[in-house]
């Protein structure tokens, strides 16, 4: 904002506070105007004039003050321009050579303002960090889990499986040998050729339509499921599905997720419970696999069945058996942990149709296998 630098132009007066030697130390109210490039300051008693080497500077509280400073005969003089219209008049009459200083002064107070806002923003962010972390935890948990799981070696995973195995042995009657175990192992081995895991095949004596996988290649099939399967292919379908869970590391992902969410929540919410690990492991037994994981396991299981030349129709048949459970009957365990739906069965059926064999006949005496199991009360009947 340059004035028309006609030196004689009379500039409008403005007000401010004047500090000069001999005046009251708190400053005196004064008015001033530019004349011939110099500031004429008028106090109640006398008139002052600025020196040619006067400079513009900002200062005061929060650098909000604008002053013209010059060295008088007896000491420093400062004229602090009032805010508002006075600043405009001051700028209008400002000699050209002071313009850069005037701008610098404006920048100084703007900088203070900017930095202050930055501080506030940083402070607000700091207050929001736990909240943001929580939101991130909830929304990005799958990505984080995927990344973590990628970095867990298979041996470590197998150790986790051992823990689950030990727990299973403690809680249920595990059949260590017999036709049923042999049958499960035979089918399982056909489905897991070339796997990175050393699989452990278990059959537990429990009249439930259920099977589950623990991290590191532990597959547990309930005797109730073997009883309900009409053909070995139907059982193989379930085993393939469980193997797929193991190969896709769904169990580990679930565990990391459960642990991570709990630990994250504990850290963020400040309620660290030492039982998080135990809870994660027991939680694994009734882990609710997400729909996505189920469909991925269906597809992978199907692929493995086909690769092992086992007729995948059994898989779809068994699914139908599950879905068509008449109401009023206790929902089979496999359904609650492996959410089945009409849609899923239909999709599976369609996918199976695409494969036409030829299929191997599984070298199993299925009747003998079922007979070897404890004559459990018929699954699904009221208990």
């Amino acid at each position: 904002m340059l004035s028309s630098s006609s030196e004689a132009a009379a500039h409008s007066p403005f007000t401010g506070r004047f500090f000069a030697p001999g005046l009251d130390g708190v400053g005196v109210a004064a008015s001033a105007r530019w004349q011939h490039g110099r500031l004429q300051v008028q106090t109640a008693e006398q008139t002052w004039e600025s020196e040619p080497d006067a400079r513009v500077q900002s200062g005061g509280f929060n650098a909000t003050q604008l002053a013209l400073v010059w060295a008088g005969a007896d000491g420093e003089c400062r004229f602090y321009v009032d805010a508002g219209a006075s600043r405009m008049a001051f700028a209008a009459g400002l000699p050209a050579h002071l313009t850069p200083q005037h701008q610098a002064a404006g920048n100084a107070s703007a900088k203070v303002e900017r930095r202050f806002r930055l501080w506030w923003a940083a402070l607000a962010l700091l207050a929001l960090v736990p909240l943001l972390a929580l939101v991130l935890l909830i929304t990005r948990v799958d990505d984080a889990v995927g990344w973590l799981v990628k970095h867990i070696p298979h041996e470590q995973e197998a150790k986790l499986g051992d823990l689950v195995l030990a727990q299973t042995r403690a809680q249920m009657r595990v059949m260590e040998s017999g036709p049923a175990v042999d049958a499960v192992r035979l089918m399982g081995q056909r489905l897991t050729t070339g796997s990175a895991y050393t699989y452990r095949w278990l059959v537990v004596d429990k009249a439930e339509l259920n099977a589950f996988t623990a991290p590191g290649g532990v597959v547990v099939v309930y005797s109730g499921l073997l009883q309900a399967a009409r053909t070995p292919e139907e059982a193989a379908g379930v085993i393939a599905h469980e193997v797929a869970h193991a190969e896709l590391r769904h169990g580990l992902q679930g565990m990391v997720k459960a642990l991570g969410v709990r630990a994250g929540a504990a850290v963020l919410l400040g309620e660290w419970s030492g039982a998080a690990l135990g809870q994660a492991m027991t939680g694994l037994l009734e882990m609710k696999f997400s729909r996505e994981a189920e469909e991925a396991a269906d597809a992978e299981g199907l692929r493995r069945l086909v690769a092992a030349r086992i007729n995948p129709a059994g898989m779809a048949d068994f699914m139908d058996t599950l879905v068509k459970q008449s109401p009023g009957v206790a929902v089979p365990e496999l359904l609650s942990t492996h959410p089945a739906s009409e849609g899923r069965a239909t999709r599976l059926r369609e996918a199976v149709k695409a494969h036409t064999g030829p299929w191997d006949v599984l070298p199993l005496d299925w009747v003998a296998v079922q007979k070897s199991l404890s004559p459990a009360e018929k699954v699904g009947s009221a208990q």
Binding site: F19, G25, V26, G60, F61, N62, V69, E76, F116, W119
Partner: protein, 268 residues
């Protein structure tokens, strides 16, 4: 804005009170809970804000919101002489110290003061909030971050703890002060909170990590005994209180790290 002109008299030496004389129709505003006595013709009214806003409801709300930030009440008490003849109302200082009368018209119309120091003023003086924006690390300084701004041209009274020191700084003259000891200063004074950078002295010496640097020109008012120091001493020597020492300006006591180390700094 028509200011109410008040005559006043300050009584006492270490525990003071100020008696304000109001002409009919004049009024004074006081911080809640500092009124000591009043004569018959004075009526008390509690208003939203500080009574200086000319704006509508929204302006009042803004003013009140700012007051909330400085930790004061949303409401101000107005003492108006609605009788005939001069009447008096007195306001007492809340703790040992000195009451500082300030004629805002003499001081350029604005004073920045420590947020707890305002006592009372003529009606028409606006109480605003003024953040110390040249923060940097001063954010942890505790005191001196949120200040109060008094605007107007009437009388205002602020309270300084302990002994008062008034100092008029020449242009460029500087004074380094413990942040808690600043009571008030003119806006021409450059007020900067600086990190002293001697963590050792902050932890073991109990001196603040932060100092306020005041640079003239203008007048500054300092107090020898900030309320926080007094409270700190009292709590430290009161076994029943079991409070943590809250040393102004030191990280240990400012509540930032207080929980970590228990704030066992001694204040001297």
């Amino acid at each position: 804005m028509a200011m109410d002109v008040v005559d006043y008299e300050i009584f006492g030496s270490e525990m003071q009170y100020v008696e304000v004389e109001l002409d009919p129709g004049e009024a004074a505003i006081g911080e809640a809970g500092v009124m000591m006595y009043m004569q018959e013709g004075i009526t008390m009214d509690t208003i939203f804000g500080d009574g200086s806003q000319q704006g509508g409801f929204f302006g009042k709300l803004m003013g009140a919101g700012k007051r909330l930030l400085t930790g004061e009440g949303l409401f101000t008490t107005v003492f108006e002489n609605s009788g005939s003849g001069k009447q008096r109302v007195a306001f007492a200082a809340p703790y040992p110290g000195k009451i500082v009368p300030m004629d805002l018209s003499q001081l350029g119309g604005t004073i920045i003061c420590q947020k707890d120091s305002f006592l009372c003023a003529a009606k028409g003086v606006a109480l605003g909030i003024a953040f110390q924006k040249k923060l940097g690390v001063g954010l942890f300084g505790g005191e001196g971050f949120i200040m109060q701004k008094l605007d107007g041209d009437g009388m205002a009274f602020v309270h300084a703890g302990g002994t008062l020191m008034e100092r008029t700084l020449a242009p460029g003259e500087t004074l380094r002060v413990d942040t808690g000891c600043v009571v008030a200063f003119q806006p021409t004074v450059d007020f900067d909170i600086q990190f002293v950078g001697k963590v050792k002295s902050a932890i073991f010496g109990g001196e603040g990590l932060f100092f306020a640097t005041l640079r003239g020109p203008g007048k500054v008012w300092l107090q020898s005994l900030p309320l926080s120091r007094l409270a700190n001493r009292i709590i430290l020597s009161a076994p029943a209180a079991g409070g943590r020492s809250a040393d102004q300006g030191s990280l240990l006591g400012a509540g930032v790290l207080g929980g970590l180390i228990g704030g066992g700094s001694n204040d001297e």
